[in-house]
């Protein structure tokens, strides 16, 4: 909290000179993926600088940060074993599903343990990432306190700025004439905004379901509009955390069809028939949409505190009309309609040449350039930071190989590029939606990363560190 805005006019553009950071890599963002990339680069003996626009690390999990999208009640929806970094397990004292406060403390102790604070610069917003001769990159960083910009040159860049912070806001007919309040879940930090109101929650992602439940507990009336019927998975089924059961079935190598049958029967046994609650029957198979893990939603539907609704047809004054012809008077609409990937510091031609969404190899390498990598552009059907660790390890191992043997590293990169766009769906066919652009089946994806790591290690000079 040392940064005080300076009174003199901002120093912009044309920095006096570019600071050459030699073989160092730059890491954009200090969320779990940024931290893991930084730690693994350093551990493999490379130099690396991490940049964070806020005054503390944690990215999305740094509750008070401008771009943090966690709300007061946020807890993990996957349990510790697969969610934690494999080389830095969460404390035994943490519950199965830790809160965002605990998660933030965990990231801080990770950073301290691995000495990352010496390599992180806070309050520093990356404003430009531009290529220079020899596959190197100029990274321009603005100090948010003094407004001074500095450009440093790096051997490579890891982009880990997250993909759950740039709101995706839908447009419905008459939306501009709506007399109530419309907000995106990005501006939802606690139940204060819904207390005592008539609330419409739009979207059945995990945020949408959390907000609907919180609204049911605090608002006057709660309506929950979803495009389709979903499987609402319990956090615990038959006394075990559901994600651990899912991993058990995968460990036993059960085929997709059998796992579907088992999951649906457990759901029926423990939660019941969704249609009997007035929810719609899912229009898709299990594992075809990103899993929703929420044990309370169905409970509140059963108590009438949440009224399920189909998609919105149009807004009209203070009334919202739904596609089934019903309508409701609404004070507050919370759009829990998700987020889009957004890289404001980078020209679209590097990650997103077709302008829709980035199509990468392993969600890490772009076919456009070999030294620009992405970490965290994934949405696994389970926990995430085990994958963050291995993505960081793959990038670091690749960066180390580039430093030692650029020809071999190029061979690896060429192989990676040949797999651009390959998806890891675990055999399922994901529903076409922006929500599933980065969806991966966690175990199948990790197996691919492991093969890549073995390929890289077999290329490394013998005895090299």
């Amino acid at each position: 909290m040392t940064a005080e805005p300076m009174t003199s006019e901002p120093v912009t553009a044309e920095p006096a000179g570019v600071i050459d950071r030699g073989g160092a890599w730059a890491v954009v963002g200090s969320g779990p993926h940024g931290l893991s990339a930084l730690k693994n680069l350093l551990e493999l003996g490379l130099d690396a600088d991490g940049f964070e626009r806020d005054t503390d690390l944690g990215g999305n999990w740094n509750f008070h940060a401008e771009n943090s999208r966690v709300y007061e009640s946020t807890h993990l929806i996957s349990t510790k074993p697969f969610t934690q970094f494999p080389d830095f397990p969460m404390p035994d004292a943490y519950p199965d599903y830790p809160s965002h406060w605990q998660v933030h403390r965990y990231f801080r102790s990770y950073a301290e343990h691995f000495g990352l604070f010496d390599h992180l610069t806070f309050n520093s917003e990356v404003v430009d990432v531009a290529p220079v001769e020899g596959d190197r990159w100029n990274v321009t960083v603005r100090d948010r306190g003094s407004d001074v910009t500095t450009t440093r040159q790096y051997a490579g860049v890891v982009i880990a700025n997250g993909h759950n912070w740039w709101p995706k806001i839908p447009q419905y007919p008459g939306q501009d004439t709506f007399t109530g309040e419309i907000r995106h879940s990005a501006q939802y930090k606690s139940a204060d905004v819904v207390r005592g109101k008539r609330v419409l929650v739009v979207g059945a992602g995990n945020t949408g379901c959390d907000v609907a439940v919180e609204s049911a507990q605090n608002a006057k009336e709660t309506y929950h509009s979803t495009r389709r019927g979903y499987y609402y998975n319990p956090k615990y089924a038959l006394g075990r955390p559901s994600d651990q059961t899912a991993d058990l079935l995968l460990a036993l190598r059960l085929p997709l069809g059998l796992r579907r049958v088992m999951f649906k029967s457990v759901l029926r046994l423990t939660v019941g028939d969704f249609e009997k609650f007035g929810l719609r029957k899912p229009d898709h198979e299990f594992f075809e949409t990103h899993p929703i893990v929420n044990q309370q939603l169905v409970y509140y539907v059963g108590h009438g505190d949440i009224q399920p609704k189909p998609d919105i047809a149009r807004f009209d004054g203070s009334t919202v009309h739904f596609e089934d012809g019903t309508s409701a008077e609404i004070d507050v609409v919370v759009f829990c309609t998700g987020y889009l990937a957004h890289f404001p510091f980078l020209d679209d031609s590097y990650l997103n040449p077709d302008g829709d969404h980035p199509v990468l190899a392993r969600q890490i390498f772009t076919p456009v350039t070999p030294t620009l990598t992405v970490s965290g552009l994934i949405q696994p059907d389970s926990g995430q930071w085990t994958i963050a660790h291995w993505q960081g390890m793959l990038i670091a191992t690749y960066a180390a190989l580039r430093a030692q043997d650029p020809v071999a590293a190029q061979r690896f990169y060429d192989h990676m590029v040949s797999e651009t766009g390959v998806r890891f769906t675990g055999g399922a066919e994901y529903k076409d939606s922006t929500r599933h652009y980065y969806e991966i089946a966690h175990q199948e994806y990790l197996r691919a990363i492991e093969r890549d790591l073995q390929r890289l290690e077999s290329m490394a000079p013998v005895g090299a560190r």
């Binding site: 551990e43 493999l44 349990t79 510790k80 074993p81 697969f82 494999p86 080389d87 830095f88 397990p89 969460m90 404390p91 035994d92 102790s109 301290e112 343990h113 691995f114 000495g115 010496d118 651990q244 059961t245 991993d247 058990l248 995968l250 460990a251 085990t386 291995w390 175990q443 990790l446 197996r447 990363i449 492991e450 790591l453 290690e457 013998v462 005895g463 560190r465």
Partner: protein
């Protein structure tokens, strides 16, 4: 590092830890002993000495380090820690010892590590050396010191000799009992009273962990400095186990003749400790 060593280092999967994800180890109360310089926790990087975490062997406990090595290493400026694995020393989990696997011990060590403000040098003794290696398979410590290590190639090859020389002990182990460790196996130069006192403190071992010691373990690649210490007068772990472990990491073992298996307790412990601390000062 020689090429054959690298080949041997290849293991099936260090990424896909399916059982840890689906049936995670339970937690148990951990006894962690420590001697830490004042103010070090807040300023861990102010000293140049990395912390040391000691991992004891079969049927031992953190107490075996507290006797001589911890105070002596602290005297030389090292922050020192020792953990009692579950079911050992004053740690919890004694009732569940019959269901305890090596991976539970690995969990205990990992939990202890994450409480440290800085990466430690892992010092493991006997079975603790094997656990330290399993830890290093997922976590890169500052250094890895393996003292009279349990055989990484699996102790099964020692069974015939055990059956021949001490058939009752062999029978006991196979039946799930704790491998008996007597003072003449652990010590060479201790007076009888002291030796008996130490042997008295030995506890039980998990039968499953003992069975796992018979199996080969594949680790690697380990990227930190590795030290392997053995003694020709060890009557628990033979020279072959020390040599194979050292070769796995492409290092030459350091031999300390005249000291027994428990080199942190036996007469001559000062010499063994200085070998470890000098190595840490030089390499880690």
């Amino acid at each position: 590092m020689s090429t054959p060593a690298r080949t041997r280092l290849r293991r099936s999967s260090k990424v896909m830890r399916m059982w840890d994800w689906s049936v995670p180890p339970t937690s148990a109360h951990r006894e962690v002993l420590s001697i830490v310089p004042e103010g070090w926790i807040d300023e861990p990087r102010a000293t140049r000495k990395p912390p040391i975490l000691f991992v004891h062997g079969l049927a031992h406990g953190a107490w075996c380090w507290r006797e001589h090595w911890m105070p002596a290493a602290a005297e030389r400026g090292f922050p020192v820690y020792a953990v009692s694995l579950r079911g050992h020393g004053d740690s919890g989990g004694r009732k569940r010892l019959g269901r305890t696997l090596l991976r539970h011990y690995v969990h205990d060590v990992m939990q202890t590590i994450t409480e440290l403000p800085q990466k430690p040098v892992l010092v493991g003794h006997s079975m603790g050396a094997l656990i330290a290696q399993l830890v290093a398979d997922r976590y890169q410590p500052q250094g890895l010191a393996l003292l009279t290590p349990a055989p990484i190639q699996g102790a099964a090859y020692e069974l015939p000799r055990l059956i021949r020389k001490r058939p009752l002990d062999a029978l006991k182990v196979v039946a799930g009992g704790t491998l008996p460790l007597r003072s003449e196996q652990l010590f060479t130069g201790l007076d009888d009273v002291t030796a008996a006192r130490y042997v008295d403190r030995l506890g039980r071992e998990s039968p499953w962990a003992q069975y796992e010691l018979l199996l080969p373990h594949r680790i690697g690649p380990v990227r930190c400095p590795v030290l392997v210490v053995g003694t020709p007068d060890d009557r628990v772990v033979d020279e072959k186990a020390v040599e194979v472990t050292a070769a796995t990491y492409g290092v030459d073992p350091v031999w300390l003749p005249g000291i027994g298996h428990d080199l942190m307790l036996d007469a001559g412990w000062e010499k063994a400790l200085s070998v470890v601390l000098d190595w840490i000062d030089e390499r880690c």
